[in-house]
Structure formats: structure tokens, C-alpha cells
């Protein structure tokens, strides 16, 4: 099971990183979504993997799983969900306004020519 979860995190992260480097808003947003899925699973495993164990203390149970990572994941899911919604709205606004969905600054833009020079 460790191998399965670890490779799932790895594949999600790799896919997310690849898409994030695509420089068009749609793939980049998809990539960031994949990255957040990966980090959610990663956070979940940070409390060790245990199958069928109770997270809350009760009578007659001897094996427990760590409840804190589950709470952390819940927070992370809510935040990443909200953030994704925000970025979709802003990116959509930028795309509809400028009719261009490139994430990076294009070299022909007047204002950005100076920036390219010293960041290269």
C-alpha cells in the first residue's frame, strides 16, 4: 500500500509540474489542481498509513490512526478549492479582456521588454 500511495503522489506531482510549465492558463490551472491533489494525499500520509483504524478515542479500541492530518487535509482541501475558484475567475477575466491566455509576458509587450533583460 505504501508503494501505491507513494507512486500516486509522485505521478500526480509529476503530471502537475508538467502541466504547470505549459504557460497557458488552462493547463496551468489543471496542473495546479493536480499538485493540490498530490499534496492532499501527501498530508494524509504524514500521519502514517493505517487501514480501518479509528481516529477518535473510544472504549474497546486499541489501534488508532492520527486524526490531525485528516483535519489538516480538510483545511487544505477547502483552501485549495477556494483558491482554484478565484484563479479560474481571474484567468477567465484576463482571457476575455485581452483575448490571450498566455501566462508569461510576451516579449513584444512594451512595458515588459525591460523586465526580460535582467531576468534572463
Amino acid at each position: 500500500m505504501e508503494l501505491l500511495v507513494a507512486s500516486a503522489i509522485g505521478i500526480l506531482t509529476a503530471g502537475g509540474l508538467y502541466l504547470t510549465l505549459r504557460l497557458r492558463t488552462f493547463p496551468v490551472i489543471l496542473g495546479i489542481s493536480l499538485l493540490t491533489y498530490a499534496v492532499n494525499v501527501f498530508l494524509f500520509t504524514s500521519g502514517r498509513l493505517a487501514i480501518g483504524a479509528a481516529p477518535i478515542l473510544r472504549d474497546g479500541v486499541s489501534t488508532y490512526t492520527d486524526p490531525l492530518p485528516q483535519a489538516l487535509v480538510l483545511t487544505a482541501i477547502v483552501i485549495s478549492f477556494g483558491m482554484s475558484a478565484v484563479v479560474v475567475m481571474i484567468a477567465l477575466g484576463a482571457f476575455l479582456g485581452a483575448d490571450d491566455d498566455h501566462v508569461d509576458d510576451l516579449p513584444d509587450a512594451e512595458t515588459d521588454s525591460d523586465q526580460k533583460g535582467d531576468e534572463a
Binding site: 495546479i32 489538516l72 483552501i79 483558491m83 481571474i90 490571450d100 523586465q115 531576468e119
Partner: protein, 514 residues
């Protein structure tokens, strides 16, 4: 007294929804509420700063749960200084936003502003790493709204870049938190400090990865090269008051580095040896150089100021990366200066834009309000490049003095002094093109004559500059205070024991009451 710690978080958190719900269509009421909220914040911050100035650490347990289980807010000298700095800065930024009318170009400026303050205050006061993440997200989501305030295509595009970059940083933050929790089983900073010291020197791989990931996250926030790419276009495209408020956002990264890396991963810890002198210091030096070269290369005034922010953050990071008490003290002095100077310059950008109609560094006929704006720009630029007599000069002097015992002292002196010269040339060129060459340029079309900026705008910028002057005059006292702050940071035991040993719910099984 303890309940006052949570007030800087609660007050804006209540103020913002109230502004949205009750005063949605009345910008006048919004302004009154917003300014009143910020004034109250300053009063609370002053009280907290006075209370902690003798070295007490105030602890606030959410719901009275004891430290490693519940979330704690902790106020010591460093936190209260940052809270005070933020609230004072926000007052002047708010006055400028009102004076220049920026706040009425969209409906929710004041609500978002209050939410931004809530996130900032929380980030400075929290004693829990996951809670720090949550407050980072609060301040970021408010900053996304503020960043694209008043709309426009270039602004939306810069906003997209800004949001995407920060989303990646947040993901990285979560990876760091996950690895820290997997290694130590806690996210409370004080508890973490105890446990990180116990990690077996043979098995430090996990904790080392976590420390580096966390440093990367904070370095993104602090815009340290090579993680600075988000800063120039987002700060330059953001509305001027927002950009001025963002001057404190890079300092959140610097604050987090100081806090976490003095408390949890102290410089004498074996697992993170070499992280500061081998990696952070050279990166910070390159930031100084890139920032100031950017100042020289910029073709627009707003980009120029954005690059000068990168440069001055570089100086802060150089001073932090020394990781000596004198280095941290110099960094704290410089953080205050750089926040005020950066904010003032962004506001001056807007004064120029209002009077002149363009921020391009090309000669144009004299603009409305030229003389006053030019005078303010001169003072602001003098402060930013670190010429005497203003606080930038003293700050740089402190940093240079603190670096005297470092191995890289030659590099530090060469880079800081050399880039100082470069930035002087950059700012002098910008100023002479904007203000002096204007008199030799004939107006091409006598069309619309722009009206000069509002008086309140000048008052706000003047206030920031007066604060810088105050920081110069009282440099001795402020540096003494910064030194005591650094001493407190390098002797974290009282902080740790206050957090871990104060009893609360679930605290000690030895009590025998359950």
C-alpha cells in the same frame, strides 16, 4: 491583558463583513469605518508593543486548549513590532487611497483591505505553523482581490501570474508542513523547537528536506532571487495604495524566516548547517545586485520602484542570513525602513501618474503638481538608495557593520556598496527625466491639462516620510530596541516554556482531574 492579542485579528475580521453588509453602497461610511478600524488597530498594537517591550511573552490559547493540541497566538517583541509597523503603514496607505479616490474605483476596496490586515496580523502573531499557512492564505486571497481592484487587462494578466505563482508557493508550503509533521508529529512552533533538537543526527534527511522546503516558501514570499519573478509585474500593475500595502507582504516572508529559523532550526543545529551561509547569503547578495541593476534598467517608474523593493529585500536577507544577533537587529531596523520607503515610493508613483498621465521614463512637459511631487520623490529616493541623512543610510551602515565578522565580508561590502551606487544612478536618472527634463520639453498638444493630486495624498506620503525621519532621529533607541529583540530571538527558552508549560485544557495528565 492576554485577550488583547487576538484583537488585531478579530477587529478587521469583524470590520470587513460589516463593511460589506452594512455599507456596501456608501463609500463615505466605508471610509469612516475603515479608518476607525485602523486607528483602533494602532492603539491596540501600541499597547501590545509596550506590554511586551520588557521581554514578556504573551500567550493566547484558542478555546483554552493547551499548547501542542490547540492553536496558540504568541506576542513577543518581534511580533508586536511587525503588528505595529503594519497598522501604522496601513493608516497612511488608507489615507492615500481615500485622498486619491482609488478606493471608489471598485466596490470592495475597504472590505478587502481589512481582510488583508487580518491575514497580516494573524501571520505575525500565530505560534503554529499550520495556522501560519492559513493566515498566509487569508492575506493572499485578500491580496488577489486588491491586486485586481479597478480592473483593466494588464492588471488582470499580472493578477493571474501573481495568483498562480502564489498557488504553487502554497502547495510547496503544504508539502513542507507535511514533511515536518511526518518527522516530528507536531506543528506548534515551540513544541517543534523542542522536538527538532531531539532528532537523531544520523537521521536528519526528512527534517532537512522540510527545513529547505520551508525556506523556499518564505523566500518566495520575500522575493529572494531566483524566486522573485512574481514581484515586478504584480507590484507595478497593482493599484498604487495596494502596492504600497504589499511593501509589508515581502516582510512577512522575512519575518517568517527570522521566526522559524531562530526558533525551530537555530543556526547551531547540525541538520540545517550550511543552509544560511552557503545558500541564503549568496542568493540574498544576488538579489541585491539584480534588484539594483533592475532599477537602472527599468523603463517605467513603477517597475523601477518594484526592483528597488527586490534590492532592499536582498539587503534585509543578507543581514538575516548572517544569523548573528547584530545581523538580525540590523535586519529589523532595515525592515522598518524598507517598508516605509517602499510604500512611500509606490505612492509617489501614483502622484506622478496623476499629474503626468504616464510613468514612462521619457521626457514630457512639466506635470501638474510637479514641484511637490519632485521634492517627495527626491526624499523617498534618497531614503531608498541609502544616502545620508535618512534611515536607509543608517540601516545599510548597521548591515555592513554586522557583516564584519562574516567569511564573505568582502563580497557583502562590495555588493551592497556597488549596488548602492548603481541604484543612485538609476534613481537620479529617473528623477531627472521625470522632473528636470520636463522644463526643456515643449508641450506637443495643449489638450487636457491634468489636475494636480489631492492634498490628502500628499499628506499620506509626507506622513510616511516623516516616519522615516523619525526613524533616523531616534535611530539609537530603535536600534537598541531591535537589539533587545534579537537577543530575545536568540534566547528562545522563555518563549518555548511560556507556550509549552502554560496550563490549559488537556495540558498535564499529572493534574489528576480526569
Amino acid at each position: 491583558m492576554t485577550h488583547w492579542i487576538v484583537a488585531p485579528v478579530i477587529l478587521p475580521a469583524l470590520g470587513a463583513p460589516f463593511i460589506v453588509l452594512a455599507a456596501r453602497y456608501h463609500v463615505g461610511i466605508q471610509r469612516v469605518l475603515s479608518v476607525a478600524g485602523v486607528l483602533a488597530l494602532i492603539a491596540i498594537a501600541l499597547g501590545l508593543a509596550l506590554h511586551t517591550s520588557d521581554g514578556t511573552v504573551i500567550l493566547y490559547r484558542m478555546g483554552d486548549w493547551a499548547a501542542p493540541f490547540g492553536i496558540v497566538l504568541v506576542a513577543d517583541r518581534l511580533s508586536t513590532l511587525m503588528v505595529l509597523l503594519t497598522s501604522v503603514l496601513s493608516l497612511f496607505v488608507l489615507l492615500f487611497a481615500i485622498g486619491s479616490g482609488w478606493d471608489s474605483r471598485g466596490r470592495h476596496f475597504h472590505a478587502l483591505f481589512q481582510f488583508q490586515l487580518m491575514g497580516l496580523m494573524g501571520a505575525f502573531l500565530t505560534g503554529d505553523l499550520f495556522n501560519l499557512f492559513v493566515f498566509f492564505e487569508v492575506l493572499l486571497i485578500a491580496s488577489y482581490g486588491l491586486m485586481i481592484h479597478a480592473g483593466g487587462n494588464t492588471r488582470l494578466k499580472a493578477g493571474t501570474q501573481y495568483v498562480l505563482f502564489n498557488l504553487i508557493a502554497s502547495t510547496l508550503f503544504l508539502f513542507a508542513l507535511g514533511s515536518i509533521y511526518a518527522e516530528t508529529g507536531t506543528l506548534n512552533m515551540a513544541d517543534l523547537a523542542n522536538r527538532a533538537a531531539l532528532v537523531d543526527p544520523q537521521e536528519t534527511v526528512g527534517i532537512r528536506v522540510a527545513a529547505v522546503l520551508l525556506l523556499l516558501v518564505f523566500a518566495i514570499k520575500a522575493a529572494v532571487v531566483p524566486l522573485h519573478f512574481w514581484l515586478p509585474s504584480s507590484y507595478a500593475e497593482a493599484p498604487a495604495p495596494v502596492a504600497a500595502l504589499f511593501a509589508i507582504m515581502t516582510k512577512v516572508g522575512a519575518y517568517a524566516i527570522i521566526r522559524v529559523y531562530t526558533l525551530v532550526f537555530p543556526p547551531n543545529m547540525e541538520a540545517t548547517a550550511g543552509l544560511y551561509d552557503l545558500w541564503l547569503l549568496p542568493a540574498a547578495l544576488i538579489s541585491v545586485a539584480i534588484g539594483m541593476i533592475g532599477v537602472l534598467a527599468a523603463k517605467r517608474l513603477d517597475r523601477l520602484v518594484a526592483y528597488s523593493i527586490i534590492g532592499s529585500m536582498g539587503i534585509v536577507m543578507v543581514s538575516i542570513a548572517l544569523f548573528t544577533p547584530s545581523g538580525i537587529a540590523a535586519a529589523l531596523y532595515y525592515i522598518v525602513h524598507s517598508t516605509l520607503a517602499g510604500a512611500a515610493l509606490f505612492l509617489i508613483c501614483d502622484l506622478v501618474l496623476v499629474g503626468r498621465g504616464s510613468l514612462d521614463l521619457k521626457p514630457r512637459p512639466p506635470a501638474a503638481g510637479n514641484a511637490a511631487t519632485a521634492a517627495l520623490f527626491f526624499v523617498g529616493a534618497t531614503a531608498m538608495v541609502g544616502l545620508p541623512p535618512l534611515s536607509g543610510f543608517l540601516g545599510k551602515l548597521l548591515v555592513l557593520d554586522a557583516s564584519f565578522n562574516s567569511d564573505l565580508v568582502v563580497w557583502i561590502w562590495a555588493v551592497i556598496l556597488g549596488s548602492g551606487l548603481v541604484s543612485i544612478v538609476g534613481f537620479a536618472r529617473a528623477g531627472s527625466i521625470l522632473f528636470w527634463k520636463a522644463h526643456a520639453t515643449k508641450a506637443e498638444d495643449d489638450g487636457v491639462l491634468l489636475s494636480p493630486p489631492a492634498t490628502l495624498s500628499y499628506v499620506a506620503v509626507g506622513g510616511l516620510i516623516a516616519l522615516m525621519a523619525g526613524q533616523t532621529v531616534f535611530a539609537g533607541q530603535i536600534h537598541g530596541f531591535a537589539t533587545s529583540m534579537a537577543d530575545q530571538l536568540f534566547a528562545p527558552q522563555p518563549y518555548i516554556s511560556t507556550v509549552v508549560e502554560t496550563p490549559g485544557k488537556l495540558s498535564a495528565p499529572a493534574k489528576g482531574d480526569h
